[in-house]
Subunit: 136 residues, 3 copies
């Protein structure tokens, strides 16, 4: 069994952003030389998530609007600590914070439209995502 | 380490459906001959998901009604592309699109009521789910 | 490849609770002697979930209030079976029921604020969580 670990670093200029990381993940899998296994992608900061969906600008805006409707910017108890990002913690909770991608024949085994996004809800600061490929 | 990969194919007659795949997954794990490991089940199309919950008809209807309330059929930006399935992308986002099932003593290690469902939100077309068992 | 499996048992005095299990998981990883791999944490009962977020009391209350808003206690079809926990099945669906934690250098590879919680939505009864560490 082999394991290969890398960390992606993000510092988005906007507070909220969707960054397509599919190519980066494919390159990490290639570098790992793992032929059969799984690739974990997990946001290490608790106001960011991972979204597997479509690279389509309208849908990406739909997602952000919809998350704002379900988990709006508001006055949360969490803000008594001095923070102002309560909504970001909840938005990431709906979205999920990780994905596990199958690796088959040395490449990500994704469906025809599956793209993997880093979803930032409280950006403008340095944040990390762990990528761990495991297999043989 | 061993890995065993199969693809389930669905083409539901209804646009929305919940299909219990627990038995099929158990059979794949048995075929893999893996005794200790993990079984990934992941929808390869971005308007479908995986739900781990109860095989109870009332609850399944409750789930579908509730998803419609949170992510209703509506006029999404995504529809400018000619699609009409914006709600399906969002419904699958709430539900999640994958599950990782532990394999112990050569079988799925599930709780007493855990059942695994393929959740279709834009059916009537051919779609795939990847199942990868990894372990020893 | 090695695999190490343990089961955590919960019987919370309250119907709803968030229990921080990060230390327990760290101890299981240490006991497994696995240096590189992944640790699956998965609720085996379908009215409980796993949440990876912040150990901050205000935020934890925000989460519970928000889940009640999105998936309220109400009269669900599921209750025709004699159950009264329809909301708990839906709350766990938003939250997710599992997390996969990377193991690097023999320890959980978590971000600075990542804490792992067992989320109970229908407690006062004995429930289990499976923890499986896999790697080398």
């Amino acid at each position: 069994m082999k394991a290969h670990t890398e960390y992606l670093v993000f510092e988005t200029p906007e507070r909220r952003a969707l960054v397509n990381v599919t190519e980066k993940l494919g390159a990490i899998v290639a570098k790992s030389k793992i032929k059969e296994g799984m690739c974990l992608v997990s946001a290490m900061h608790i106001t960011a998530g991972i979204w597997v969906n479509d690279e389509e600008s309208g849908l990406k805006q739909d997602l952000m609007d919809w998350l704002e409707r379900l988990a709006p910017v508001a006055d949360y108890r969490h803000h008594r600590t001095g923070e102002d990002n309560g909504d970001a913690h909840l938005k990431r909770t709906i979205l999920g914070h990780q994905a596990l991608l199958p690796v088959t024949n040395g490449a990500l085994d994704l469906g025809p439209w599956e793209q993997v996004f880093y979803a930032e809800f409280d950006g403008r600061r340095r944040k990390r995502v762990v990528v761990k490929v495991m297999g043989e």
